[in-house]
Subunit: 356 residues, 2 copies
């Protein structure tokens, strides 16, 4: 931190040839930047590397997660109403809290906004933020509101609580555990495809009233995801503590691989067991896509993927919002998807992509 050598040269540096960020990828980059992070505080139980960090506050564990949404990257305001954006920004953070088997309690909201936005726009955004807070009993306790040169950035930090013996990481899956998913998967991704289709019509032909056909469920899944606090509550009522859990933000396949890699296991999941909404199946057929692609690769479902001891098999059958899609295996068996024709494909290689 020598100031003597300070030079006005940032712009020049940027012109030079350095390693592009995309060469490492998101997970590689995070790993690279944080691999030498040192923990000093005795109450830091878990730092970087799960859906949320874990702090020991005495009688319970506190879980903390942060997500940043940037205009043009995570959302397009042409088809994302600001109220929905505010709601979704909260929901995706609460989903990370759920993924630790915890209950969300508080959030902070930091905004950077350019001068193209008005007070009325922010009223809309905040009405969605407050609606999500109200629905999930979460307190908006602070934040920051500042200018930006371009567009809108929202950074939300969510805080939750979980009993110490119930916190669930990604790395606890064991051989023979059942692999479960809540709700259904693939719908949010297809909702985005419809919104993109309508955006193009809007830009080409000026049609401002989009035609969603019979696919309003898909749109709703994209624009208004809900964190599965109900699943966390149900598991608690049934005294079921998952051995591993993650929320589905990047796609079912990617999340299964996270659990298997963290837990040093393999898995076997069955194509026919993967829960699809009927609109997911219908729209995939309409656009000649195999719905399993949307389900495995799509992302933004914000459902919970978790593993449980096989002794809970009967209990799990009672909840029609939970589907057992396969089981955990020894690591040497690999991460397998069993197709309807009994063929095995490796999840890690994305072999099902050929189904298109």
């Amino acid at each position: 931190m020598q100031l003597d050598n300070l030079q006005l040269k940032m712009e020049k540096k940027i012109d030079q040839k350095f390693t592009p960020l995309k060469e490492l990828g998101e997970f590689g980059l995070i790993n690279h930047l944080t691999k030498d992070v040192i923990i000093h505080q005795p109450n830091t139980v878990k730092g970087i590397g799960d859906d949320a960090a874990v702090l020991d506050t005495g009688t319970v564990y506190q879980v903390i997660t942060t997500d940043l949404l940037a205009e043009g990257i995570h959302f397009n305001l042409v088809y994302t109403p600001l109220k929905h954006l505010g709601y979704k920004a909260v929901a995706v953070n609460l989903s990370d809290i759920c993924a630790m088997n915890a209950k969300p309690k508080q959030i902070t909201v930091a905004l950077a906004i350019s001068s193209k936005f008005s007070v009325e726009h922010l009223n809309e955004l905040y009405s969605g933020i407050k609606l999500a807070c109200q629905k999930y009993g979460v307190d908006l306790i602070g934040g920051d509101t500042t200018s930006s040169l371009t567009g809108l950035t929202i950074c939300i930090t969510a805080i939750g609580e979980v009993e110490k013996d119930k916190v669930t990481y990604r790395n606890g899956a064991k051989n023979t555990n059942l692999l479960c998913v809540s709700g259904n998967v693939g719908a949010a991704y297809l909702g985005l495809q419809i919104l993109e289709r309508e955006r193009k019509l809007f830009e080409k032909e000026g049609i401002t009233q989009p035609d969603f056909g019979n696919y309003t469920y898909l749109i709703e899944r994209q624009l208004k995801p809900e964190p599965r606090t109900d699943i966390v509550k149900w598991l608690e009522e049934k005294n079921i503590v998952p051995t591993a859990m993650i929320d589905i933000s990047d796609g079912l396949s990617s999340e299964i691989l996270h659990i298997c890699k963290s837990s040093n296991t393999g898995c076997r999941i069955y194509q026919e067991k993967i829960p699809l909404h009927e609109q997911t199946a219908d729209f995939a057929e309409e656009v000649n896509m195999h719905p399993i692609n949307a389900a495995l690769n799509g992302g933004e479902d914000y459902e919970l993927l978790f593993t449980v001891d096989i002794k809970h098999y009967e209990a799990l059958l009672q909840n029609d919002q939970i589907r057992i899609i396969g089981h955990i295996t020894e690591q040497v068996e690999g991460t397998n998807l069993v197709l309807e024709n009994n063929e095995f494909v490796n999840l890690a290689s994305g072999g099902w992509n050929a189904l298109n």
Copy 2:
């Protein structure tokens, strides 16, 4: 949240005439957006409205604060080395924790970065983040790294702890309390003026080695502020609990007014008591500015401003890093600055600006 009426019209909306954000100002906007926020959680002790939120975790209070820094608004990469930027982004958040009389423990870091940045740039940024964490014994426990279409945005959330009977808000100042400030004020603002001057030379004449003359302290105060954890620690050792505290981010005058408004008091501060570094006085003279302007309006000092019971007068004199600049009065007496010629000017009206 009716999806049926969803229209692709955001861009159109933006073109319409709505209330510009600047009409409300930063504090007015935050107040407008959060005035109807409801608290649901029994462990939320203090929400929006202080330097940090306060949660009851059982034996101690936890304090939480979030700050977002946007390129082009809060920093200019032409003269801000990325390592310093990372360090400063952490420091300003830890300063908010100090302002609650608390000790910083953990941070999360969310980044949005455009493709103009390389892995090497992020290494620099993170080296500053990690250096600040190491110096202050703070754990980097999580975050988010994502793309942006333009520039760099950093959102940091800091978490700290304070014994329940020592948490210090803005609203506890009482008549006759001493008004104290740590370190010195105005230097960071003048450092920014020098950096801006050198940037203009760089852009006009291509001079890449800036000339800071004898003002390296001013530059350092701008580029590498330090949170005053030492003051919080000293107050604890001396069993002094301030009645009100705030950190100086927007300028001494603005922060004094925050304390007086929150506490329903007035104040009297003395121009001659305001602590200035000799470089602050020298550079102000060089550019024909009254140093009191930099001190009162400048901002980014990240010093602590606090009020204490008059019984601690003798103890405070022992610490050469703390200066008593005046005292709290009844509200009816107003918020007064006593000039060296014994003239009274109203802080709220910015009357000292005429000193230029």
